[in-house]
């Protein structure tokens, strides 16, 4: 059972464009993390959101946790080729100690 659905699965855009990727679930999470994974490497944590409605910014990346803590979005402004990679969301259930990962969004930013 896939608890976290990420969309789109693939996204190819031109440098300078904006984009949003989504992470949705029917489950409530106590916190949610976003990772970026580059080819041949392991995932690297970008951000953790904890509070419903929380918005965090990391340079051109804006992360939002849904009010009900069931979903999250990642918005990238003026994408650059260096943003290319696999973006993974991962949720932690209440009282849990394991992350549940989504299937990822593979982003390609063309120069």
């Amino acid at each position: 059972t896939q608890l976290l659905e990420q969309s789109p699965q693939f996204l190819s855009i031109q440098e300078g464009e904006n984009l949003t990727v989504y992470c949705n679930s029917s489950s409530v999470f106590s916190s949610l993390q976003w990772y970026r994974q580059e080819p041949g490497e392991g995932p690297v944590l970008l951000v953790t959101v904890v509070t419903g409605g929380e918005v965090k910014k990391l340079k051109r990346l804006t992360f939002q946790f849904g009010d009900a803590r069931k979903d999250s979005s990642l918005h990238i402004t003026a994408a650059q080729p260096g943003d290319t990679g696999l973006y993974l969301c991962a949720g932690l259930h209440n009282a849990g100690n394991m992350l549940t990962f989504g299937g990822g969004t593979r982003l390609m930013v063309k120069p």
């Binding site: 490497e41 995932p43 953790t48 394991m98």
Partner: protein, 114 residues
């Protein structure tokens, strides 16, 4: 100065063989993990060790046996390899038992079972 390292990076082997993957972290962390990433990129936890003790053991065939000789190492031994074991295996570590701490992932071991 690699934080979490894994060996080998690539492993190609025949069905039925036994193989081991090694993981070392030099971050001084107390907790280490093994994850499996399948061809569809789903990342799923397999095991977690804290101070050399097993704390998470997900539904993993008993052909997979983790071993932690000390806090800095968590090795994964796989017996009687099957085609479905082909995947990328990631080791990770954190200062304390997640969820309080950030996990740092290694570069992965790409296992192909023929």
């Amino acid at each position: 100065d690699t934080a979490v390292s894994q060996t080998p990076k690539y492993l190609v082997t025949q069905m039925g063989n036994d193989k081991s993957i090694k993981c070392e972290q030099n971050l001084g962390h107390d907790t280490m993990y093994w994850y499996k990433q399948d061809s569809k990129k789903f990342l799923k936890i397999m095991f977690s060790y804290n101070n050399k003790e097993l704390i998470i053991n997900e539904t993993v065939p008993n052909r997979f046996s983790p071993k932690s000789p000390d806090k800095a190492h968590l090795n994964l031994h796989i017996n009687s390899l099957e085609l479905g074991d082909s995947a990328v295996y990631f080791c990770a570590s954190s200062q304390d038992i997640f969820p309080r701490e950030t996990q740092y992932f290694g570069p992965g071991t790409r296992l192909l079972v023929l």
